[in-house]
């Protein structure tokens, strides 16, 4: 094992230790600031590469972690659980938790610690039964939309997020369309076929076939001090931007659009009625995703895909280029639920 031919970047204190590759997380894991986003993403990509490209066991240390953001925590859950699901021997993936008491406490109280503990698909599915804040679903009936939605609503209720009937409907509408987007954009048949043709079957996507297609990861993050609910959905598939690029590449009349920046492509994709399929009745879901944030006062929506960053709030729409490329798509709603309660009185 010590002769393993794997990259061992010093930035993550990577070394071969106790028969596995040992890697140390950055002290700050966050995707909102350019500074930490790059290291966060590099770290998570490295873990995935060890497991799926090099087929080696990994000890993932968060012992020196001092801060993690909501979106980063979901990416951590997605990456670690994906690796855990992807290996047959669960002992190949070991997680060391933070030494910092406050960080560990946050990890435990948010449900992330439970979500990262050793185990495979059975562990991930058990998170649904316990209405955890961190959940993963797929098209398989025991972890499908209906199961995950119920667990999500029970979790929100447990944390005192009491939406009015109208706003509960709007929230579920947005969540539903975001999950449907995972199926349509992330793991469409063309993408899976092309991926499996060009990569080894041992690739990270083979586990999607084995444990459930259309997998997504989500978390409800309760920012109690600011009275905000942060609800995030992530998939590691093709992503909205790459899915649109694929459509443009196959449609000569759109070839000029391939030169547009990802932020523009993402902004266009979020417009009502725009669908890569070109089918008239499709492309309605983006309105639901937008309305979920924009119906609530002091709330906003962020979508990240490829190099594109899209933000929609009461002030309007802002699209920018990310300094790093995000695989798949991340949709984040930040909802001020205190104003919601006041509205209901």
């Amino acid at each position: 094992m010590s002769n393993l031919s794997v990259p061992l970047p010093k930035a993550f204190d990577a070394k071969v230790k106790d028969g596995k590759v040992y890697v140390e997380s950055p002290k700050v894991m966050c995707v909102y600031s350019a500074e930490s986003a790059y290291m966060t993403y590099e770290f998570l990509s490295l873990i995935e590469s060890y497991v799926f490209d090099y087929n080696v066991g990994v000890t993932i240390s968060f012992e020196n972690l001092e801060y993690f953001s909501a979106a980063a925590s979901l990416l951590i859950f997605a990456t670690v659980s994906k690796c855990q699901i992807g290996v047959k021997d669960h002992s190949k993936i070991e997680v060391l938790f933070p030494k910092n008491d406050a960080v560990l406490k946050l990890m435990a109280s948010s449900g992330l610690k439970l979500a990262l503990k050793q185990g495979g698909i059975a562990k991930v599915r058990k998170l649904i039964d316990s209405n955890n804040q961190y959940l993963s679903g797929s098209e398989v009936s025991i972890e499908n939309y209906q199961k995950v939605l119920t667990a999500t609503l029970l979790n929100l209720d447990k944390h005192g997020v009491n939406f009015s009937n109208t706003k509960s409907q709007i929230f579920v509408k947005g969540m539903q369309e975001a999950i449907l987007n995972v199926k349509y954009h992330a793991y469409n048949d063309e993408f899976i076929r092309d991926f499996l043709l060009t990569k080894q079957v041992k690739s990270k996507f083979s586990f999607h076939e084995e444990t459930g297609r259309g997998r997504w990861w989500q978390c409800c993050w309760h920012d109690v001090s600011n009275n905000k609910l942060i609800f995030i959905i992530y998939d590691d598939g093709e992503g909205i931007v790459n899915s649109i690029k694929r459509y443009y590449r196959n449609s000569p009349e759109h070839s000029d659009k391939l030169n547009l920046p990802d932020s523009t492509l993402l902004g266009n994709a979020m417009k009502l009625g725009v669908s890569r399929t070109g089918i008239k009745e499709r492309g309605k879901g983006s309105a639901d995703i937008i309305n979920t944030a924009c119906t609530f006062p002091s709330s906003h929506l962020i979508v990240m895909s490829g190099l594109g960053h899209y933000r929609h709030d009461s002030a309007g729409i802002n699209t920018t280029q990310l300094p790093f490329e995000i695989k798949g798509t991340l949709v984040q709603w930040v909802i001020n639920y205190v104003e919601e309660n006041q509205d209901d009185i």
Binding site: Y145, Q146, N165, T166, S168, K173, E177, K183, E281, G285
Partner: protein
């Protein structure tokens, strides 16, 4: 006739049957049968929407817009007959507006 969507599913989801058991496409089949019965008996079909968690646009478009797109009913039959064949019962006005717009926009 009254049909509560809850009897189809508390959590309808998706557009096509390939999206899951409780998709718009699956609901449209039930809807079409009930509409046909109501039409034959010259009575409205009242769909109650409020006892489900939430309804995505994809589900609604495929269920209701699909009735016209698939040539099962005309817009006029659904919305302009007397008594009006398809009636939506909901406290959430946006659902009724959305459904009507999908039917009117749909092309057979």
């Amino acid at each position: 006739m009254i049909y509560d969507l809850r009897d189809f599913s508390k959590a309808p989801f998706g557009r096509y049957k390939s999206d899951g058991e409780f998709s718009g496409e699956a609901f449209r089949e039930i809807l079409a049968n009930k509409l046909k019965y109501s039409q034959e008996h010259n009575e409205p079909l009242i769909i109650k929407l409020d006892n489900v968690y939430g309804l995505g646009s994809s589900f609604l478009e495929e269920s209701f817009g699909g009735l016209v797109r698939k040539g099962l009913f005309t817009k006029e039959e659904l919305l302009e007959s007397s008594p009006r064949l398809l009636q939506i019962e909901t406290e959430f006005d946006f659902y009724a507006i959305e459904i009507e717009s999908y039917i009117r926009e749909a092309q057979s």
